[in-house]
């Protein structure tokens, strides 16, 4: 083990990463991330008041009552670490995440490129500062363990904790990096306390044995340490000697998935654009296929000749294929055509061609996959499991025919009016109920419910038997019993029941409901609101 010479690595350390991931760029107010009643990370402002990592929550709150506490969320930390990893990747490929806030890469390549480890570290820091991560520290040493300690021990840039930040050049020069020369790892580690081994159990035992520093530990014979502490102890012993054998496995960079096409002259007709986009869509699916990925969510950016970008994300229940992408481009163009103002159109264009070219022209289409998944999850099954796939293909065909909104799935939502209690979501989109259907919603109808619901409610005539108007006063009294509904005599009725729906900004619905059965035994649910009668639904 001692013969192995660890390779030179460069460790990038982002101090207090959980805070950075949760709160964004520095400076942070006094905040602590807490897990299981212990402080996991705290901002410099909190540290000034004596809050320390590992403290109990109550103790930290006692030191600083205004301390804001955040729950720990490892997933968020990891997600948040992706952008800095990408930023590092643009400067030096082959970066590996040790844990959120700590990245490692082999020092050899980048040092050679920049002509020295120091120059490389400085270049990386400048780059990260420009990318918005001025707090990053770098340690270069033999093996990730030593390098991490070097990074942590790198003298903090004197201005790093100040609010007024010097310009990027200065931060990089303020030696936010530390380089331990090859072979000097043991000497660098020797004065450090054993606690840095991150193994509290063995560390406390070592301290009780009188082994207080890594130098003390490294001085012990390997075999004795192994006899006393087992494999784990031997590994810690190796670390203390500066012989960290952990290899660096590089993260493969993200493949370039997005593709775009530019048109020499702006295209206005959706068919033209869809035809032209076909090849780009093929490119996207091909690059996905090469990476063994499939795309489940895509963003389509349409740039018109004024430079305005129309962007929309599209979901797919299974995964996008080239034809699906083309469809989505077409639907987006159609919805664009439907919403764009027709005022600035040349007056000579007839209404039929107006439908085809109300937007003035698209010069660029960009297809960018947002969510990708492993292609292995989407292989069609050999037996049996292909049912949903077939279903999806057939329904997508209908959707291609009728447009995105043409095929919908229904869902129940909360509400008082019948029309509010159901919602339609285009096929393939995520169903998000607008209002929680499980809340009580006082005033909604009991079963049985009308088999026909008019969305929006349809105007209907309800009159007294003599043909006179019916009014409902403030106390909910009818001026006359209903005698005619939709032209036919009423045989039975009940109500009125008040409906008060103050959704949103106060201009909700304030009306009264009646159930009516007419001579033809049709049962109506009518609503009297704003001095008019509306049919909400018909029971049969």
């Amino acid at each position: 083990m001692s013969d192995q010479v660890p390779s030179r690595v460069l460790v990038l350390w982002f101090p207090d990463w959980p805070l950075r991931a949760a709160l964004g760029p520095l400076p942070h107010p006094p905040v602590a991330v807490v897990h299981a009643n212990r402080v996991l990370a705290c901002s410099p402002a909190a540290r000034e008041h004596g809050v320390r990592i590992g403290q109990r929550r109550r103790e930290a709150q006692g030191l600083l009552p205004s301390l804001r506490l955040l729950p720990a969320d490892p997933a968020r930390d990891e997600r948040g670490f992706l952008p800095p990893l990408r930023a590092i990747e643009t400067e030096a490929p082959g970066v590996q995440m040790l844990r959120p806030g700590l990245a490692v890469l082999r020092a050899r390549g980048i040092a050679r490129y920049h002509g020295g480890e120091e120059a490389a570290a400085r270049a990386l820091l400048t780059h990260l500062t420009a990318a918005g991560y001025p707090e990053a520290r770098i340690g270069v040493a033999d093996g990730p363990f030593t390098a991490e300690l070097a990074a942590r021990g790198a003298p903090p840039a004197p201005s790093a904790e100040d609010t007024d930040r010097p310009d990027p050049e200065d931060t990089a020069d303020a030696s936010a990096y530390r380089i331990v020369p090859p072979g000097a790892a043991a000497a660098f580690l020797a004065p450090l306390p054993v606690q840095v081994l991150q193994d509290p159990e063995i560390a406390s035992l070592l301290i009780r044995l009188g082994v207080r520093t890594l130098g003390d530990l490294a001085a012990l014979p390997v075999l004795d340490v192994r006899d006393r502490f087992g494999i784990r102890g031997a590994r810690l012993h190796a670390l203390a000697r500066g012989a960290d054998s952990r290899p660096v496995t590089a993260r493969s960079p993200d493949p370039e998935l997005a593709a775009e096409i530019e048109f020499e002259s702006p295209l206005a007709q959706s068919d033209q654009i869809a035809f032209a986009v076909r090849r780009t869509a093929d490119e996207v699916t091909l690059s996905l296929a090469t990476a063994s990925l499939v795309c489940t969510e895509v963003r389509i950016d349409l740039t018109d000749d004024d430079g305005e970008v129309f962007s929309r994300a599209w979901l797919h229940p299974t995964c996008f294929e080239a034809a699906d992408l083309v469809d989505r481009v077409r639907w987006q163009l159609e919805s664009l055509a439907a919403t764009s103002p027709t005022a600035d159109m040349p007056s000579g264009i007839a209404s039929s061609s107006a439908r085809d070219r109300p937007f003035r022209g698209i010069v660029r289409v960009r297809l960018a996959p947002i969510a990708v998944d492993d292609a292995a999850h989407h292989q069609p099954g050999l037996f049996g499991s292909a049912g949903d796939e077939r279903l999806h293909h057939a329904v997508s065909r209908v959707q291609t025919l009728l447009g995105h909104e043409g095929v919908v799935m229904g869902a129940l939502t909360g509400g008082r009016l019948l029309a509010d209690r159901q919602q339609l979501t285009p096929w393939g989109e995520r169903v998000v109920p607008a209002r929680d259907p499980d809340l009580p919603w006082p005033g909604h109808l009991p079963a049985p419910l009308p088999a026909e619901v008019f969305v929006p409610p349809r105007a209907i005539t309800v009159r007294a038997a003599d043909g006179g108007e019916i009014r409902i006063d403030e106390r909910g009294r009818l001026s006359a019993p209903p005698g005619l509904v939709d032209g036919s005599p009423v045989t039975a009725w009940a109500g009125p029941w008040p409906v008060r729906d103050r959704r949103g900004d106060g201009d909700g619905v304030r009306g009264d409901r009646l159930q009516l059965v007419d001579v033809q035994q049709r049962a109506w649910l009518v609503l009297h609101a704003e001095h008019a009668w509306w049919a909400e639904g018909r029971y049969h």
Binding site: V395, L401, L402, G410, L424, P448, L449, A451, A494
Partner: protein, 274 residues
């Protein structure tokens, strides 16, 4: 169970019986798939159909009753199969869910316009039960192409239309509704008693049940205690059904039951059944 009207059995008239037997033989031989031979219906409606469910790969003409559509879609949907409703923008989803339909397995195409036929044939590839309100009339050639496709794919079509459908397996009508629970300014709708009458090629004599659609819980309920007296229009609506199918096949059918069904719908016998 509701009241079943069974006025003729196949043995009663030898000629009609022979035709029926042959027709059943044809249906048996035409069947393409061995799995799922029937689309389940609500138990209250089972007596209407000779096999206790809807035939796969056929078309049924429905009277314009969203409640009936909901009840027929709900039964297979609660068994986990996909269903679709084409051209019905006003279908009450909450009522449909009340019948037990799974909205997550219901495909809605509210406004197909003139392309309802294309949409229906595309969906028939994958959805075993589709309710359609046609937006336009169909030529005979198109109708027979659709029928062939339905038979091939094993998809059952519920056609909500007042116009007769030339090649339908049968018709299901809802008539004589009577609402309960509402008075002169008091009460709350509790349910509606309706008569559902079905007439299929395999049992050309209309069969009827009196059910509550919808019942007080929003579902279909059977077992109405109230004696049905067959007031006024019932007898007519029972026989008129034969007159609505006008194509050659229906005429053959009418010829087969000549003298048995058309005139002699013996409502006195119905009384006896009660």
């Amino acid at each position: 169970m509701g009241i079943t009207l069974r006025t003729v059995d196949p043995g009663e008239s030898t000629r009609a019986g022979e035709i029926l037997r042959l027709r059943q033989e044809i249906t048996r031989m035409q069947r393409r798939r061995s799995d799922l031979p029937l689309i389940p219906v609500h138990p209250a409606l089972a007596p209407l159909f000779p096999d206790g469910g809807l035939q796969v790969g056929t078309t049924y003409a429905l009277s314009s009753s969203p409640g009936l559509v909901a009840a027929l879609l709900a039964a297979p949907s609660r068994n986990g199969s996909w269903t679709a409703a084409v051209g019905m923008p006003t279908l009450g989803l909450e009522a449909l869910a009340g019948h037990g339909a799974d909205l997550a397995r219901l495909i809605l195409v509210p406004e197909p316009g003139d392309r309802w036929l294309t949409v229906t044939s595309a969906l028939s590839e994958v959805v075993p039960l589709i309710a359609v309100r046609p937006g336009s009339r169909l030529r005979d050639a198109e109708a027979s192409r659709l029928s062939a496709r339905l038979r091939d794919r094993g998809c059952t079509l519920l056609l909500v239309s007042s116009a007769p459908w030339p090649q339908s397996e049968g018709s299901i009508r809802v008539h004589d509704p009577r609402w309960h629970g509402l008075g002169e300014g008091w009460g709350l709708l509790e349910g509606c008693d309706v008569t559902v009458t079905a007439q299929t090629r395999r049992s050309p004599v209309p069969r009827s049940v009196r059910v509550r659609l919808p019942g007080a819980l929003g579902t279909m309920e059977s077992g109405i205690r109230e004696a049905w007296t067959g007031e006024g229009g019932s007898a007519e609506s029972g026989t008129v059904r034969l007159a609505t199918t006008e194509t050659g096949r229906a005429q053959l059918l009418a010829a087969a039951e000549e003298g048995t069904a058309a005139e002699a719908m013996p409502f006195p016998r119905l009384k006896a059944v009660v």
